[in-house]
């Protein structure tokens, strides 16, 4: 009422933001050794700060922090926005399912999961005894994901890739998020559109790119697998992206539509996220009593976690600083 529902938000987000790494700080972090970077990552967490000396432990901490911030954010939201973020928090469950599937396909021990609520079945301790896709499919019984798994697992085994299953999961997620988005109104709706739903659009664009140019799927197959579910990606742009026959055309369409940052020295994904970041800055520097402040933080934190994991993994593999820097998401 009168924009006062979120008066507590701004101070909270200011405090949480102090744990995020700024652009100039990445330069310092990239100069550290692999081990030093691991310790730095562990120490910067606000919610889960503790000593950790290996990448797996730090990645678990970072992921846990992401989830904890989402839970914390829900305490400050109006009922409709609370339901929207509750739908968003399923993102972590779905990421866990993807990770489990990848581990099982590659016959590796299941690791790297988000530490999520006890209401979810997809926690570390629940899945540690699963060793095959068939066992996992049985495990999914009774959940919303069983049918998705039943349809796609035969294809995973045949093609030895999880691509279609992950897209199915993302489609499922996008649908449930859109259902809650449709119930938002006023500033809540516009803030969600400019943050989380825009992030979802970008994810979809990236998927379309991969489907068309990495997996070389035809336009009709791409539409079938990646429909414009949220309905928020402009129909013409969506059709043009699907129909584009080269990466240059694809990137040109995005550039013209204003989805890409003007700096052309990085891959188009980084340009997409930089543009997202610029758009979200308007929310950060706008009225402090909007849900957008929180939503924008959640996205920024997500990108921050992606950056950390990327930096730690690539440093461990010995990639040089300049190449790592070129892959970083905006911060």
């Amino acid at each position: 009422m009168l924009g006062t529902e979120y008066t507590a938000v701004y101070a909270k987000v200011k405090k949480w933001s102090s744990g995020l790494v700024k652009a100039d700080e990445w330069a310092e972090i990239l100069r550290l050794s692999a081990d030093e970077a691991v310790r730095e990552a562990a120490g910067r967490n606000i919610k889960t700060a503790q000593a950790a000396d290996n990448i797996e432990a730090v990645e678990a901490l970072l992921k846990e922090e992401s989830y904890l911030y989402t839970l914390s954010a829900m305490r400050y939201l109006s009922p409709a926005m609370h339901r929207f973020i509750d739908a968003w928090s399923r993102f972590y469950e779905i990421e866990n399912i993807k990770t489990i599937t990848r581990c099982l396909l590659n016959q590796k021990p299941i690791s790297g999961l988000y530490n999520i609520s006890v209401k979810s079945r997809f926690r570390r301790e629940s899945v540690k005894d699963i060793h095959s896709l068939d066992e996992f499919q049985d495990f999914l019984s009774g959940t919303d994901y069983y049918r998705l798994a039943a349809d796609t697992f035969p294809r995973i085994k045949e093609e030895q890739k999880t691509f279609f299953f992950e897209i199915n999961l993302d489609n499922f997620f996008a649908r449930s998020l859109k259902n809650q988005f449709d119930r938002l109104a006023g500033h809540d709706r516009s803030d969600a559109r400019q943050t989380i739903m825009l992030y979802m659009d970008i994810q979809r664009i990236v998927w379309i790119y991969r489907a068309r140019f990495h997996y070389e799927m035809s336009p009709s197959d791409t539409i079938a697998v990646l429909p414009n579910l949220t309905g928020l990606l402009n129909r013409k742009i969506y059709d043009a992206l699907i129909a584009s026959d080269s990466t240059e055309t694809f990137i040109g369409i995005l550039d013209k539509a204003g989805y890409l940052d003007s700096i052309r020295d990085n891959g188009f994904e980084q340009r997409l996220y930089r543009k997202l970041f610029t758009r979200m800055k308007r929310i950060r520097s706008g009225l402090p009593f909007r849900a957008g402040i929180l939503l924008e933080f959640l996205i920024r934190h997500e990108l921050n976690v992606k950056n950390w994991i990327m930096v730690l993994e690539l440093k461990k593999r010995g990639m040089d600083t300049a190449r790592i820097k070129s892959r970083l998401y905006p911060s």
């Binding site: 006890v118 009774g142 035809s218 197959d221 579910l229």
Partner: protein
Amino acid sequence: MKKLDVIILKKDVDIVLKEVVGFGNFQVLDIDAEKARGFSLVKNPSSERTALLGEYDRRAQFLQNAFKTTEAANRMEDTLSFENADDNNESSVLNMPAIEQALKGLETEYNQYNAEMEKTRTRKSDLDIRIKKIQYFSDISTDWRRFRDLPHIYIGFGVIPVTSFPGFQAAADNIPSVVYRQVGIEGRDVLLFFAASRTVREKMDSILKNVYFRDYGIPDSEEGAAGNNLMKLAFDLSGVHDEELWLDRRFEKLAARGMVLLRRVRKSVHYHIGMVRLEEEMASTGKAILFSGWVPASQADDLRALISKVTEGRSEFVTTTAAQAFAEEGLEPPTKLDNPAILRPFELLVTTFGTPSYSEIDPTPFAALTYMIMYGAMFGDIGHGFVIALLGVALLLFKKFRGMASFGAILTGIGLSSMVFGVLYGEMFGKHTPFQAIWMNPAQNMMEFLLMGVIFGAIMITFGIILNLVNSALEKNWGKFFFSPSGLAGIILYMGILANVALPMLKLPYSSMLWFMPISGAFMILFEKPLEGLFIKSGHKEKGSAVKSFFELFEALLGFFSNTLSYIRVAAFALNHSVLMGVVYLLADGVKNNPVGYSLAVIGGNLFIIGFEGLIVGIQSLRLEYYEFFTRFFRASGQKFEGLGIYKNRN
């Protein structure tokens, strides 16, 4: 509270751990590893069992949440009580392997149920689809076999998952020579009939593969056979329905059984967590172990005796009182509220504000009394009080509301208080009682009531300051005792102002010399710091800032004035109640000619007032309790006593 230092032999550690955790009322003190090293002691390392126990607890919680979806489990939970005899028996505690086995067993059964139910639902869905297919195609009287091998078009019938259907629609809409119809939705599938040109067959097949189309085909039997097939499918479907019901019943039984076991598992987990907690705060030499903790003073000897018994005398103890521990080691003892049963529910009022520190009085009895008085005064009505008390008793009696027992007891108390004030005011369900008001009716004595409110406020504030004097004396904070606005200086100032205002107003004997009281009180507050430095040995030596002191005095005066007037709301709400009930009866009178309407208006109006005004009065009483009363004396800087183990109520 007493601090107990215990030294035992290493060989006795397991048995002592069990006994101490079983005892329950022992809060372990953290040991600083560095300090321990200074005494050539080694602190036990952190245990890996902590993480494992956390995992067990999460697994148990997940299963509990899953089982709570059934009525049987919810009924079972209602019947389980903490006072259940089995719970207090130590043999009911499961060891770690047994916990793992119990959880594994339940998880396996739960997963099995889900898998079987999924298979049953898939079969049911398949049968439903086949039935719908027959119904769909039999609407058109033709031999569909003719359409199988048409040269230019092909047709198909099947299902696509609901989640993939938008993708199919988007792709198919882009192909002009495809027409399709959504026949219906069955569970998680969309039934689809389509026709397409053979020129786009390959494209169509690729799309259908990508959207996980399941082909059910065009009918291959004659029209007459459709009826027989339908009967067979319907018969199979009813069989599957029965199977589903049977699985649900099996799950209900599993859930009910599981809730009992999970309760035991979780209690065992908490028991082991207590053991690990204590073990981690033990320091050792080569042969001996040392640990320390807080125990309620009345139970210290019991615990010593218990440990001595199980170690067969191979133990040493050092018992320190809380005051000694604070003075010598700077340790703040935790607080365990210990009130008689009748007052225990009102601890909720206190602990919501904070935990009393060990060196201050427990405000629970005062909070109970003042809260009930204020509520009763603001909501004085025999009938309404009776309804509230009845609601409180219901919460106390019904097992379903066991978690709200404290709230139920408070409701009963304030309900009874309202009834008492109802007798004093002569009000029942908003009407005057047949008998004369024992005291006075608020609506008929408005000004007197408002004055009563002010007097009540003065009494409460004075009482608050007196309690602060007691607390300051217990803390031996003599500076606060004598010179603070809530100390002796404050009471002299306050009483002085009241005397100088009230006595002339009430035409009672008065002397202008009484002005000496507030002036001296103000002087003491104004020069609080210097006076404290001068007269109190351990007081502040700082000079203090004149401006700051002035504003403190100003704030104290303003506080006394506003806090006193704040209590006028007690009278205001008492008046409010009469007026609101007047409005209810006024509205009811509008439908006097209709007996049903009149009854509904009266009953509905009364219920509304009980709910709405009752809630507001509760909040206002709480506000007066916390802001005007507690802030005068209640430090609330204590830590709650957290005993180990699950047998906290054993003694």
